[in-house]
């Protein structure tokens, strides 16, 4: 089969997509349903139509670009990712999976091969939590992984809710229509930059993702008592920051305590009040993220932290309340898709590594409704979510070819 990836066209498209941004180049900021996001979507639609592909959007703006198969009623083979970008991030996260997926479909079309099943690129709405505070908004709703009432209750920092925000940009169909029909996809495989340095360090060309870790994340609200840092003596202090310090250290301890390399725990957020050098902190808000590829091991670490929070709150006479953000189950990749990826790699005679995705992707939710796997390409220094995020053109092209070959294999099964 003569499968030619047009790397220079794809790189030019990635570059052009990065110009739809609210931050100056090379930084990219593209927030859900802003003017720049809507312009990027219109441009993507143009590319799809230009390539002679079928295009549709759902009521959340999840976008489907399809190359029809010879048996179009069979469940399709899906791929895709996201194009939204957190403030001051880079140009490869997500976009490689969308534009790379599009190039995979175009390359297959150009090759003249007609697959049995339809092939489809999905651009998910809002994988990043920037606007409404919840990541994987589009894929959660597609997969029925969240109650629609919860979606309707989300508000952005200006107090605008999802219903109002999507209506303003023309998405007016009922939210209920977003849910994917049963057996919509026979398989889903996402191409993504690794966002970690493993492939680069090991000098390997492709990552075969056999599991996606999932976070349990929660806020801890602590309330003690403030006072003047000079006037209030140490005995009887109810310092919310010191409680938070003990809890942050306990998150590390709990992640290490499972003795599994895959358990990670992070306190990424800590805000204190009143935040004056001569005032005892009366309040603290912590944001904690604990992940594993094994759900029960992750929950064991979470429970250890929750126990510590209780003990610390009691010892320091501080009130603690927990606000759960999410506790999504991790996902295992489908063996049949992994086999198809390995077979593409063998055909192409390239090097690869079986690995875990420790970051969270839309595929975590697609795994709830169809067999799923992911393909990673190397990412310089493991750096992501920064303007200097970088993936080499040859690595991107190689990933797209693995993706195209894998989709074709799956399309015949």
């Amino acid at each position: 089969m003569n499968l030619q990836i047009d790397s220079s066209k794809l790189m030019a498209e990635l570059k052009h997509l990065s110009t739809f941004s609210d931050a100056p180049s090379p930084a990219v900021t593209r927030i859900l349903w802003t003017e720049q996001d809507m312009k990027a979507r219109a441009w993507l639609k143009g590319l799809a139509l230009e390539a002679g592909l079928h295009y549709r959007e759902d009521a959340l703006g999840n976008t489907f670009i399809r190359l029809k198969g010879s048996q179009p009623d069979l469940p399709a083979i899906g791929t895709g990712s996201h194009t939204d970008a957190i403030p001051f991030s880079g140009m490869y996260d997500g976009t490689v999976g969308v534009l790379g997926g599009l190039e995979a479909l175009r390359a297959i079309k150009r090759s003249g091969v007609k697959a049995k099943r339809s092939l489809e690129v999905l651009m998910f709405t809002a994988e990043e939590p920037t606007r409404f505070g919840l990541g994987c908004l589009g894929s959660r709703v597609l997969a029925g992984a969240i109650e629609l009432e919860k979606i309707r209750a989300l508000k952005d920092s200006d107090g605008i809710d999802v219903e109002t925000a999507r209506g303003k940009v023309g998405y007016t169909a009922p939210l209920e229509t977003v849910l994917l029909p049963k057996n919509y996809y026979a398989a889903f495989v996402e191409l993504h930059i690794e966002q970690a340095p493993l492939l680069e360090q090991e000098k390997l060309q492709i990552g075969v993702v056999n599991a996606i870790a999932a976070p349990a994340s929660f806020f801890v609200h602590l309330e003690g008592e403030g006072g003047h840092a000079g006037a209030r003596l140490m005995p009887g202090r109810r310092d919310a920051l010191l409680a938070a310090a003990e809890i942050a250290l306990a998150v590390e301890t709990a992640a290490l305590a499972t003795d599994a390399i895959d358990t990670v725990g992070t306190t990424g957020l800590l805000e204190i009040h009143p935040a004056a050098i001569n005032s005892i902190p009366s309040k603290a808000k912590m944001g904690i993220d604990i992940r594993d590829i094994d759900g029960s091991r992750r929950d064991q670490a979470v429970n250890q932290v929750l126990e510590t929070i209780k003990k610390v709150a009691a010892k320091r006479n501080v009130q603690a309340s927990i606000e759960l953000i999410n506790a999504d189950p991790p996902a295992q990749s489908d063996p049949r898709i992994l086999e198809a990826i390995r077979s593409s790699i063998a055909t192409m005679q390239i090097s690869s590594l079986e690995m875990v995705s420790r970051a969270y992707h839309d595929s975590l939710f697609m795994a709830r409704v169809c067999p799923m796997a992911m393909i990673f390409i190397p990412c310089r220094g493991g750096i992501s979510h920064r303007p200097d995020e970088f993936a080499a053109p040859q690595d991107i092209a190689r990933g797209v070819e693995v993706l195209a070959r894998t989709m074709l294999t799956l399309a015949e099964q």
Copy 2:
């Protein structure tokens, strides 16, 4: 001696002063050299002249209101405090010492007693650090406790420096002229609300302050390495927040380790970067305040914290740098002034408590150039720096009478 404190006039003046504010009543916000501060200063000048007292200002706006003695060339007896107010604070902090000092002079004048030494009320410029980040600006310069270059280098949050700011409101004489001449005061005694609940709890009427604790305060800047909370495994993490957590707990440990009730240590500020729930904190900035009435014991606690910072930084492979804000020595009150205060209390047959000021006052700096002591009056619930700060009119009047009698005693020595 017939010393009559005009409590209703004084309370009306305190109330009126609180209306010069950038926050709605009962909150008070009066920031250095703003329009409201300048209006308050003009009004105070009017009160001084109306009372037939001598009035002058120095190049920083420190304001001197003098009742001349029969031997006006002798070093004077000083009192005073500040009238600036941090955002959304109350109406008694500092102001009781200025308007109460003025009423003490008026009461002495009305009584017909002519003291040997001159009596003077000093309104210090910017006891609060609000505008330029440094507390006790006026008293530091009066006492020669800071290099003038450091004062000139200070900028407010709009980037305006002290020289420009004071020039704009008409203070144009060289900064060098602010330094008090040698032997300007024979004694300085400041009247202030307690800002702690001890007098109220013990149902005592007057606090006799025998020492002022002083903070050593410093920022700690920590720099580790960020990364995705899911993608970066626990080994080799360089989490700046976890380093900060250990340091904050070490501040508490060091304050407790001296086994002296007077040692207090607080981490009042902690900011982390990038502050996203799914990102490892790469940077942290801490603000630490350690106080004692014994300078060497305080420095022992500070040194213990500095040692811990080194150890934690090495263990966690995080860079730590220390930025000293201040390390002013604590001050002991002068025995002769304390005796004069005790004698006033005995004459008035009121109850009192010998105590330490754990908050920081302009008198801490006056102690460097003359004998000093302070008089405290009860403060409801120990609450200060809040709109509900409250001191009872009879307690204020009683404090003013103790002050006036003490000044008269000292003026004859």
